[in-house]
Amino acid sequence: MERTGIINQLLRRLRFVVPMLLALGVLVLLRAPGEEVMFRLAGIRITQEALTTAGWTTIRLLAIATASMLFTLLVPLSHVVDGMRRVRIPHPVVSVTWMTERFLAILTSDLRRTMDGVRARSAALALPRRVLLGTRIAASFLLRAVARSEYLADAMTARGFDGRIPILPGARWMRRDSFIASACLVVFIVAIVL
C-alpha cells in the first residue's frame, strides 16, 4: 500500500474516534476536581487543574488510538495470526482476536454506509424528526450487527473453519512487523506511564 494511502486511511479512521475523545475530554474537564478557577462559563467553573487533566487524558487516548490504528494498518492480520501462533498463544485466543478485528472492520464499513443513508435522507428534515430517524436507524443497525455476526460464523463454517484460523501462504510475522509492534508498544507505555 502506498504511504499516502495509509495516511488517508488513518485520518479516515481517526475521524470516527476524535469526536468521541473530545467529548470525553469535555466530560473530564467538567468533572475533574480543581482549586484554581480560570473562568466561569454559564455558571460552570473551569479550573486550571481540570484543564490540564482533560488535555493530557485526551492526548494519551489519542496517542493510544493512533498507535493501534497504525498497527492494524501496517501489520496484516494474517501476519499477526502467524506471530501469535509462533509464541504459542492458544488457538481460541487467536481465533477470537481474528474474528474481533474482522467483525469490527465489517461493522465500521456497515456503519459508514448507514450514515451515508441517514445523511441522504435527513437533509431536509427538521431536527426532532432527524433525531427520530437517527434513532430508528441506529436500532436497525444494531439488529443488523447481530445478524451480521451470525452470517460471519455461517460463512466461516461453510468454508471449513474448525476453530483454527488457517495459516495462509506467505503470511509470516516479519522483522518489519516486530519493529512496528515495538514502536506501538513504546507509545502505549509512554502514554500510560507519563
Binding site: S109, Y151, A155, T157, I167
Partner: protein, 255 residues
C-alpha cells in the same frame, strides 16, 4: 427413524421429505424430495420467496429442517457437518454474507487453507479461482471496498477455490453486468464435469447452463428436462416466472 447412510451412494444429493419452518411458524419448504446424480446440472427456479435460498442453506445445515439430507451417501447431522460443507460449495445470495477477510486473495485462500492443503496448492487454487472470476488484478483489494458485482465475483471465487463436489449457487447472476454474467455462464458451460445446483429466476441463464429444472414454490411443483419446463408457459406464469422472450432462439446447454 433416520438412516445413517443412503441406500443410493451414487447420488450426490438425496433429500427426502424436507420441511423447513421459520421461528414464526411460516413454512418455507414443504415435503421437498430432491435427488441429484454426479454430473447433473439442475436449475432450481421459482419466484421470490419460493424457498430457494432456504433449501440451499438447509443443504449445508444452516437452517433447521425436518426430513433427511444425504450428500454422497453421508447423512447430514452434527458429526458430518464439516465433511458435508467441504463437499457442497454454496455461493450465498448476498456476497456481504460470504466475504470476511481483509483482502480478496486471503478470502479465496481461507477455504483451501482450512482444508489443510499445502501452501503451493492453496496458491495455485487462489490463482485459478481469481482468473476464472476475472479478479486477478484485484487480489490485494479489501472486499468491503468493492462494487457489488465485484463482491459477487469474489464470493464465487471463495467457493471455487474449494473445488466442491456439488456447486450450489444462489442467484449468481443478480446484479452482475452483462459481460460478467456472460463470462460466468461461459465458465459454467466449460465445466463439463460439474455437478451444479443453480437457484435463479434468470431463466435464460438456467437454460444455458442446466439440463434439468426443478420448479419450487414452497413445494416442488415440477421437475424434469429444462426444455420441457421452460416450454410450459402456463406453468411458469402460474408461478410468477416470466417465460424467456425468444423461446425459438433460446440457447440450451448441450451435453
Amino acid at each position: 427413524m433416520k438412516r445413517e447412510t443412503s441406500p443410493h451412494p451414487e447420488r450426490i444429493l438425496d433429500c427426502r421429505g424436507l420441511h423447513c419452518a421459520w421461528p414464526g411458524g411460516a413454512l418455507a419448504l414443504e415435503d421437498v424430495d430432491l435427488t441429484m446424480r454426479r454430473g447433473e446440472r439442475v436449475a432450481l427456479i421459482g419466484p421470490n420467496g419460493a424457498g430457494k435460498s432456504t433449501l440451499l442453506r438447509a443443504l449445508i445445515g444452516l437452517v433447521p429442517f425436518e426430513g433427511e439430507i444425504h450428500v454422497e451417501g453421508l447423512a447430514l447431522r452434527k458429526s458430518t457437518l464439516r465433511d458435508i460443507r467441504l463437499r457442497i460449495g454454496l455461493v450465498f445470495q448476498h456476497p456481504d454474507d460470504q466475504l470476511f477477510s481483509p483482502s480478496i486473495a486471503e478470502d479465496v485462500a481461507f477455504g483451501p487453507a482450512a482444508m489443510g492443503l499445502s501452501a503451493d496448492e492453496v496458491t495455485e487454487r487462489v490463482r485459478e479461482a481469481l482468473d476464472t472470476t476475472g479478479l486477478g488484478e484485484m487480489a490485494a483489494r479489501n472486499p468491503l471496498e468493492l462494487s457489488y458485482g465485484e463482491r459477487r465475483r469474489a464470493a464465487i471465487a471463495t467457493v471455487l477455490s474449494m473445488r466442491p463436489v456439488l456447486l450450489a449457487m444462489d442467484e449468481p447472476s443478480s446484479n452482475l453486468d452483462p459481460a460478467h454474467r456472460r463470462r460466468l455462464i461461459r465458465w459454467l458451460q466449460e465445466q463439463t464435469d460439474l455437478t451444479l445446483l443453480l437457484a435463479t429466476h434468470d431463466l435464460d441463464m438456467a437454460a444455458e447452463t442446466c439440463t434439468r429444472a426443478v420448479l419450487l414454490s414452497r413445494r416442488i411443483v415440477a421437475d424434469g428436462p429444462i426444455r420441457d419446463i421452460l416450454a410450459d408457459r402456463a406453468l411458469l406464469e402460474r408461478h410468477d416466472l416470466e417465460p424467456p422472450l425468444g423461446m425459438q432462439g433460446m440457447r440450451y446447454y448441450e451435453t
